[in-house]
Each structure stands twice: as C-alpha cells, then as structure tokens.
C-alpha cells in the first residue's frame, strides 16, 4: 500500500476544510471584532471550545449529530440517500468545527488590531461598508489570514481523535494519514509508520517555517 494515499486524502481534507473555514470564519471573525453585544464572550467561548475539548468528546457528539438518526445526519440522508458518518463529507464537516478556532482567532485578532480610523476614512472616501471591508480591512489583515489558513490546514492535517470517532478507517474515504500511522503501529509495521511520520514531520516544519518567514518579511516592510 502506498504511503501517499492517506497523505493525499489528508491534504484534500485539510484543503477543503481550510477553504470552507476562510469563507465561514471570516464573517464570524469580523462580527466578533466589531460587535458590542454583551453576548460576545458567549460566542467567543463556543468558537474556542474545540481547543479545550478532548477530540473524543467532540467526535462523540458529532457522531450522534451526523449519524443517520442525528439532527443533521438524518436530514442529509433524506437529501442525498447516503450517511454523513464514515464519509469524506462528514469528515470535512467535523474538521471545520474542530479547526474553527484556529481560523477565526488569528483573523479576528488582525481585524481587532486594525485602527478604526482606516475604516472611517474609507467610508468618507465613498466606500460602502462591504467595499471598505474588502479594499481596506482584508488587505491590512493579510497576516491574520495567513496565520488562520496555515493553522487550520496544519491542525486538520494532524487531526486524529475526531476522525477516528466520526470517520473510522475506510481507505480512500476516511483513512487519513494519522489514522494510517496508528494502524501501522498497531500492526507493528514500524517501517511504514516511520515513513509516514517523517513525511508529516517534514511537512509540518516546512509549513510553519514558511509562515514565519512570511510574517518576518511583513513585519520588516
């Protein structure tokens, strides 16, 4: 069996999750950075929960929620005829929730450190709220976006507990690299475990080093 199959699946999962998280997490981060509601800490706590919750707890509830009898799962079965659990789509949904804080928090921090007068200037120069968001807030928060993208990608890549609970171990569908490594170790196939693990170590290092290099370039500018 190729070591690249599970890696490729992991990369696909991380990529899909990251794209969705940027699209969903950005409005959440913006709302959190601008709101004055007293409910903000509550929303922040909900978003941050996956950081503290054991992946098994998160995976357990997701299994119930996404399962054929669960609130989302049953609706999905009606819609598509197939179950969400033990499927790639189910994994993407689970990963999005699992990695949500890793995308939202850096982007929110970047938005919050944006001096308010930039936006006010943009409005007085004729930009609508949405226009000012895309032409001023986003370009000035690129560091936050890079951190959010790298962290949610890397975090999804290293996901284990949630995948095990929700996705199981179906080759080509849910058998991501961390699961494959676990399998190989279980069956005492240390050579394959080494190959995959070293691949992940190298990958993680490359991604993080790239992020720090980019950050340094930006702070020098």
């Amino acid at each position: 069996m190729s070591i690249f199959g599970p890696l490729w699946l992991s990369v696909q999962l991380a990529f899909a999750t990251t794209v969705i998280l940027v699209l969903v997490g950005t409005p959440v981060a913006w709302w959190l950075s601008q709101t004055r509601t007293r409910w903000k800490p509550v929303v922040q706590a909900v978003v941050a929960m996956p950081i503290v919750l054991p992946p098994t707890v998160l995976g357990f509830y997701l299994l119930i929620l996404l399962g054929p009898d669960g609130a989302i799962g049953s609706w999905w079965v009606q819609l598509t005829g197939s179950a969400l659990t033990f499927s790639f789509t189910g994994l993407v949904i689970a990963s999005c929730i699992y990695s949500l804080p890793f995308a939202v928090q850096p982007i929110q921090n970047a938005f919050e450190s944006l001096p308010k007068h930039y936006l006010e200037r943009a409005w007085t120069l004729g930009a609508s709220r949405l226009d000012a968001f895309f032409s001023v807030a986003v370009p000035l928060s690129l560091r936050g976006f890079v951190s959010g993208i790298v962290l949610s990608f890397a975090h999804t890549l290293g996901e284990f507990g949630v995948v095990l609970m929700v996705g199981g171990n179906i080759p080509g569908e849910t058998r991501v690299i961390s699961i494959a490594i676990y399998d190989h170790v279980e069956s005492l196939n240390y050579t394959a475990a080494h190959q995959m693990s070293l691949l992940l170590v190298g990958f993680a290092f490359a991604v993080l080093a790239t992020m720090f290099v980019i950050n340094r370039r930006w702070s020098e500018r």
């Binding site: 007085t124 120069l125 001023v136």
Partner: protein, 334 residues
Amino acid sequence: MIRLRHKLTKGDFTLDVDIEVPDVGITGVFGESGSGKTSLLRCIAGLEREQGLPVHKRNVGYVFQDPGLFPHLSVRGNIEYGERRATTHRVDGKLVVDMLGIGGMLDRKPASLSGGEAQRVAIAAALMRSPDLVLMDEPLASLDRKRRDELLPYFDRLHEELSVPVIYVSHDIEEISRLCDHLVLLDAGKVVASGRLVDVLSRVDMPVLSGRNAGVVIWASPVDHEDGLTKFDFGDGDIWAPGSFPMSGVPLRLRVAASDVSISRDQPTSTTILNILRASVEEVHAVDAATALVRMGVGNQSLLARVTNRSVQRLELKAGDRVFAQVKSVTVRH
C-alpha cells in the same frame, strides 16, 4: 448657505447645533476641548450613529487629525481611492497634486512620508472624491511647529484655488485667524456665536475668546518699507510691523492680540510703541474680577484691548470715549 443641524447625546454631553454657514470659503469651528467640535464634524460626516444617509453617500471629504493613509497602497493608490468611488468628477486631479506639491511622491509608500507630507496626501485624497464639503479636524495638531508652518501655505492655496467649502475645526485661534473667513464658536455642545471671522473675533462677551485667545484680525496691504519694517494700510489708518512684505497690492491678514494693545487718554509722546491709533471706545466688558476687554473702533476696524478693571475705573473708560490705542505687536499672516 449650508444648513448644519445636528443633535447628539453621549453620556452627559449633548451636542445641539442648528446653524447656517457659507457655501464658499473656510468656516472655522473654535472651542475648548470637549466643546463638541469633533462630534459636530463626525455628525456632519455621518460617523456618529444618527439617522440619515450612510457615510459613503454623503459626499463629504474628511481630513482627520491623524492622516491615516492606507499603508497597503502607494500615495497614488491612496489618492485614487476616493476618486474611483466618486459619483461626480469636478476636481482636476493634476491641479490638486500640483497645489499640494505631492507630484514627486506618488510612487512612495505612506510609511516613508513625513507627517506633513502624509497630511498633504490625505487632503489630496479627500479632495479627489469631488466632495460638496470638506471637513478638517485639526489637521495640523499632530505636527510640530516647523511642519505646521510648512503646511500652512498649502492651506492658503487651497483657499485661493478651490471653490469647495471647508469646515475647519481647531483649538488654536492663531490657525483659525490665519485661515478662516467665517467663524463658529462652540461651547459645551452649543453654538454661542457664528458670523464673519472679523466680526466674531471682535466680540468682547465670549468667554472662549477671552484671555490668550482674545484678539482681532485686520486686513491690510503693505504700502511702504523702512528700517526693516513694513507699513500696512488698512483703509482707516496704518500699522507698522517688522519684516519685509512685498507690496503686491494684495491685502494680508494682521492679527492683533488683545494683550498687545493698551489704552491711553492722552496722546503718548515718548514711547517705544510704534503704532498709536486714534480710536473710540465701543464696549467695555469685565471678563473676570481683575480684567476687562475693551472694544475700540478705528474707522471701520475693530481693536480689542485687554486691560485691568482698575485701569478701566481709573481712566473712567466708557462707550463713546476718544482714546489712543497703543499696539505693541502685530503678527502678519501669509
């Protein structure tokens, strides 16, 4: 005329303004800090939560105290930001760039500009959206004296070459005296006076215009040079001031602070003071226990003098008296 009508309550502060200001020239808004100057500008721009059009549809240019240029855009990008979003294009971009002297820095990033340069770019950006009204919130306050003096001539040009009305907020009466044509005095969120600059400045009953801030502006043309001094003719008399000013026939602004004017019943003969003008007392107003402001007429011009109440009593000063005003110093603006 432009109608300004705004109400805003923030904690225990209330802004309540309903005035008309001219739709040409620069209108100064003067008041102490906390008087609501900035709040008024923010209301006009729509930056305070208030009913009405959203900010981007109001077509006002806003120059903030901090230039706040967008760091991710070049100077050119910053200037074009408002131009691209403008609904009308009445302003000649080349003229604005030339007028503010920023042609040489178009490809630079805002981070490489000095405070004064950045503020000039911010003014250009505000003008390029072809606003109906430009709001300036202490645009010189973040600069040191030297930069401020560098920037002032650009405001004079703005005044001469553009027809867009400007509302200029400042807590520096010198700045206001130099730049503005019309003056609005704000005190605790209320307008206490509004009118031509020269008229408002010659009022003696305005607490915000007492003390250091008391003084008048006189328009006068340089007509002669002698001993390093320039003679200014203001129609009803003349005033000598140090320095050499070109006799171009263009009237300049002279600011005469009330603390630099004293009053004598008799014509002073042996004195170091160069300018002694025949004047008639128009109004005497006690400012506090010790001091009073005296307004005098010199022909059609007004002069203010800050004197002690004791001197007022000793000289028995009252409206209608013929006196001599001794002007110790004059600041020439331009």
